[in-house]
Symmetry: C2
Subunit: 306 residues, 2 copies
């Protein structure tokens, strides 16, 4: 009986000006999953966490990803999957991507890496489609590749791993619900060309800053003039968090995925800890429940641990 245990990391999609094209993997939080290769065809899923996610294969994001995987695998096999979800669903931290990506990386490991990593991204996007209605890769790709990933194009799929200097990430997850579909619906379908030019200046600057380890350039480029001004109205306290975090030394930050989590990047750990405290103070004053995380970039993606 072949089995494998993995950790699958949280991810930040829509990295500020990188709406729909840039994602980053995090060292914390991470889901734990165990996958057993079985002679008995079919997929069986069990959750050991308390999130009450659907165990029916077609309704489970990891199930949808594994179905796509099996669909292209030549032999009849089966899987028994156990998920201990640590990344809270609906946090905007790539919880569904962690399940989908973790499942297919584990499956591929058990089959001696039959598929390429790009194939795995393709399979896992079926989980994203189930979760949000849209195939997108900006959580899946960094979850599998680690680090910061550019999705240059989704059809055809074109993924590029970017190097990035060490960064501390402070996250606050206010306990409100922002549905990905709602967050997408409030976006305008047309944008000013003037704003689009600003945005691609910033994305070019951010990518250059990451590749050259130029923290100042990263900081100057962490500006989103298109999506954040609209989506941030769904997140109480957003403006305050951003303003005070930058005053405290953050390089910049924004909404994680489609929210409600908000993240801030820093060059130094002490700054990221100070930011965590000021985030707590703001939400305590607002009187809203929250979780916070202080973490770093995860450079390896889904990790096989035995």
């Amino acid at each position: 009986m072949k089995k494998v245990k993995i950790y699958s990391p949280a991810t930040i999609a829509n990295l500020v000006c990188g709406f729909d094209i840039l994602g980053m993997a995090l060292n914390h939080p991470q889901d734990e999953m165990e996958l057993i290769l079985s002679d008995e065809p079919g997929i069986r899923i069990k959750h050991t966490d308390g999130y009450n996610l659907p165990a029916a294969v077609e309704k489970n994001v990891a199930g949808a990803a594994l179905l796509a995987f099996l669909d292209e695998y030549e032999e009849k096999i089966g899987f028994d999957l156990t998920i201990n979800k640590i990344i809270k669903p609906g946090s905007g931290l790539g919880s569904s991507a962690a399940s989908s990506a973790g499942a297919v990386v584990a499956a591929n490991h058990l089959l001696n890496n039959f598929f390429s990593r790009e194939d795995l991204v393709r399979f896992a996007m079926n989980g994203e489609k189930l979760a949000s209605g849209v195939k997108h890769a900006d959580n899946i790709a960094p979850c599998i590749y680690g680090g910061v990933t550019l999705i240059r194009s989704i059809f055809p799929l074109d993924l590029v791993s970017l190097t990035a200097p060490p960064l501390y990430v402070t996250i606050i997850h206010p306990q409100i619900e922002v549905k990905t579909s709602d967050a997408r619906q409030i976006l305008r379908k047309e944008v000013q060309l003037r704003d689009a030019v600003k945005q691609w200046g910033n994305i070019a600057g951010l990518v250059t800053g990451l590749l050259k380890s130029d923290y100042d350039l990263i900081s100057r480029s962490l500006e989103d003039v298109i999506v954040e001004p609209i989506r941030s109205i769904l997140i109480p306290g957003f403006d305050q968090v951003k303003k005070q975090s930058k005053e405290a030394g953050a390089l910049g930050g924004g909404i994680s995925g489609s929210g409600p989590s908000v993240f801030m990047l820093s060059k130094e750990e002490t700054i990221s800890n100070n930011i965590e405290q000021l985030m707590k103070d703001i939400y305590n004053k607002i009187g809203m429940e929250y979780h916070t995380h202080v973490t770093t970039i995860n450079y390896e993606g889904v990790k096989i641990i035995g």
Copy 2:
């Protein structure tokens, strides 16, 4: 009597997906200019070329740039400028930028580099404003810095020099007039968010490809879904040139500046020469006059030669 002679290079602005933010300097063609520092205040301009450009300081782009320069210089001095323009005005190859940038680099050299290069870009943009009504830096910056330059932001000015691997550039300049103001006016003020996302995926890919010397990624990213589809209708033969150039091995290309010149990038010299020939064939068939150039990236910008 202090004097200096310089070469000032042609440039390609709006580098495919990099509308308004990416420019590249070329080794050919280049303007020749001579500047004499004079005790007699004021600026006197003489053209030795046959282009009949205005010699009145306020109406001459180099004059406008030098006026801005003198405006911030503390002592009363004067300049005698002689311009031998080689870069044809109205070609879309940064002819006005070469004059403006060349003049201020020369002036700064004569004054022991009193100003920073960023100051010089600021001064030279006054020439661009005179020429096109808008202060833009995507010809000026590469002309002064050399290589490929990112204008992350214009207000405030934020310039980033990008490394780039060797590239051959084939250019055809059809002898028609495309006014920058007209080329700007036909652009829609709003663009689809969907297209903007494609564009910033491509710009991120292009910048990454340049910095990593990844020719395949450069090639995949050389796509403009926003400006080219509109502006290319002003340029007879554009679609044919692009299609046949790519079939002949071009990495990609597009409209230089706001046209009418069209450029194609190649990894190898033989390919760039073949592209020159096919461009000629296309325009011979159309029955339109043209000039062609085969050149490479200029990595040093305005050059002091004595």
